[in-house]
């Protein structure tokens, strides 16, 4: 069944229309990739679904697992099972990764009526996910993303995803700023955490290379605020060869 259903979504950022009637449906168990030229609205789509202030929806709808995503506050969307992987993860001085993630996980559990995870159980989970992404567990004691390299920030995002265990992950250019080895580690992490019959992923990327590791079931081209073409994995290869201009024109 459809996990994420977006119908005719339109929005404005600072009074300027960006998404102009975008429709997309993602079933549980599927991995979709959205590609497209700069300024097409890819990150805007991610932020709009995440509920970032300033990304005002002007029309259409979006549901996650049948629930109205757009009616929820950002923290409620997370508790409903949405995870947003940031292109530029934010640094938060003075707040440790462990403190931040434990608070996040327990806030989500609380809103779902589940018991909070104890300190010990949380640390065990966090170490396990850090190991999966080959991230030094000592980094979890450091302030959120502060002093992390570009690659460490992206791997830390995937560790967060592993700990929070979402239904749907929207990963905004997770591959940018990664070297070849880190790209492979992140790709394998995404597969290990999210390649499940009850989960789905929306990958936003400019390049084919991440898709070598995380094989999409569907590829979409976003241009001018709409999906202009959809296809299988071969579409990404075609784009890589011919560029966007030929396809979008």
């Amino acid at each position: 069944m459809s996990l994420l259903t977006i119908t005719d979504l339109a929005n404005e950022v600072a009074g300027k229309p960006i998404l102009k009637g975008l429709s997309l449906s993602i079933n549980a168990g599927e991995i979709h990739a959205i590609m497209g030229p700069n300024g097409a609205g890819k990150s805007t789509l991610a932020y709009t679904l995440g509920g970032r202030p300033g990304y005002d929806v002007t029309g259409g709808s979006a549901t996650l697992d049948g629930r109205d995503l757009l009616a929820m506050a950002p923290h409620e969307r997370a508790a409903a099972g949405l995870f947003l992987g940031f292109q530029y993860p934010v640094e938060i001085p003075g707040v440790s990764m462990v403190q931040f993630l434990r608070e996040a996980l327990n806030a989500q559990r609380k809103s779902r009526g589940e018991e909070p995870l104890s300190g010990g159980a949380f640390l065990k989970l966090a170490r396990e996910k850090a190991a999966l992404l080959k991230l030094d567990p000592d980094m979890l004691k450091r302030p959120v993303n502060v002093g992390f390299s570009g690659g460490e920030k992206k791997r830390a995002e995937m560790v967060q995803m592993g700990i929070l265990d979402p239904k749907l992950a929207i990963l905004d250019e997770t591959d940018s700023g990664l070297d070849i080895d880190a790209l492979k580690v992140c790709g394998e992490g995404i597969n290990a955490i999210m390649r499940r019959p009850d989960k789905a992923v929306l990958l936003i990327t400019h390049y084919q290379r991440l898709l070598d590791y995380v094989k999409p079931d569907f590829v979409h081209v976003l241009a001018g605020g709409r999906i202009v073409r959809s296809g299988g994995p071969e579409l990404a290869l075609e784009l890589e060869e011919q560029g966007y201009e030929a396809l979008v024109a």
Partner: protein
């Protein structure tokens, strides 16, 4: 004879809540003297209305650390006049938290009277509603007080645009070969960081508390009762969020 109430013409009382001051006037001054080589600490937690006027004198090589949490419900003021002898060291770590229409303030004068003394002042403020938070701090380096090392780091976070922070770090230097620095910033919580925390499932009030706790913690670094101060600050934060 009762001392006359100060007026706003006096620089040190310029932003004070003079109406509230009347109820606690006259203030009984307090004196702390550290003998040469002596070490001392003091922690002051202000929860009700209170006005403190403290003169601190440090002998040669003495060290004194003063930590303040000024979360007065009403007018809360701490005025310090610190005189440093050769090689002594003074540290002030202060956090001020206010909401409603409260005024909280820290007024300091740190006098480097002799060479090679060190002073550090770290002040962090969280202000909500129509509250006013003040820091008026003067560092004076007397003639001949070479090798002085003085630093003021003053930051304020405004939770509402209706809150006011007055920060005035001042240096008066009458000696050569001294190191004095001051930094001052007034801002709002980073909207990007708040959205990042929310995107992980943390509700807005908890996200703000998490960030503000980290911000205020800088004032309590090195305090003997850091944990107690942090817990009291968190409780005070909850009342203004």
């Amino acid at each position: 004879m009762t001392a006359l109430l100060p007026t706003r013409h006096e620089e040190a009382w310029r932003y004070a809540d003079l109406a509230a001051l009347e109820s606690v006037w006259p203030v009984v001054p307090e004196t702390i003297v550290l003998a040469p080589g002596e070490q001392g600490t003091r922690t002051l937690v202000i929860e009700g209305a209170a006005v403190h006027d403290i003169t601190i004198t440090l002998g040669e090589g003495a060290q004194f650390a003063f930590h303040v949490l000024n979360a007065a419900k009403g007018y809360g003021r701490v005025a310090l006049r610190v005189t440093l002898a050769r090689g002594s060291r003074f540290h002030l770590g202060a956090a001020q938290i206010a909401g409603g229409e409260q005024t909280v303030e820290i007024v300091t004068e740190v006098i480097h009277a002799e060479p090679d003394a060190v002073s550090r002042q770290v002040v962090r403020q969280v202000l909500a509603g129509q509250a006013t938070g003040n820091y008026l701090g003067r560092v004076v380096v007397d003639r001949g007080a070479v090798g002085t090392d003085g630093e003021q780091s003053i930051r304020a976070m405004l939770l509402d645009r209706t809150a006011t922070a007055n920060a005035r770090p001042e240096l008066e230097i009458f000696a050569d070969d001294v190191k004095c620095a001051h930094g001052c910033a007034i801002g709002e919580l980073d909207a990007n960081a708040l959205f990042y925390l929310a995107s992980r499932g943390i509700p807005p009030i908890s996200a703000k508390a998490l960030m503000l706790q980290a911000f205020l913690a800088e004032a309590f670094i090195g305090a003997a009762d850091e944990e107690r101060l942090t817990a009291a600050a968190l409780a005070a934060l909850e009342t203004v969020l």
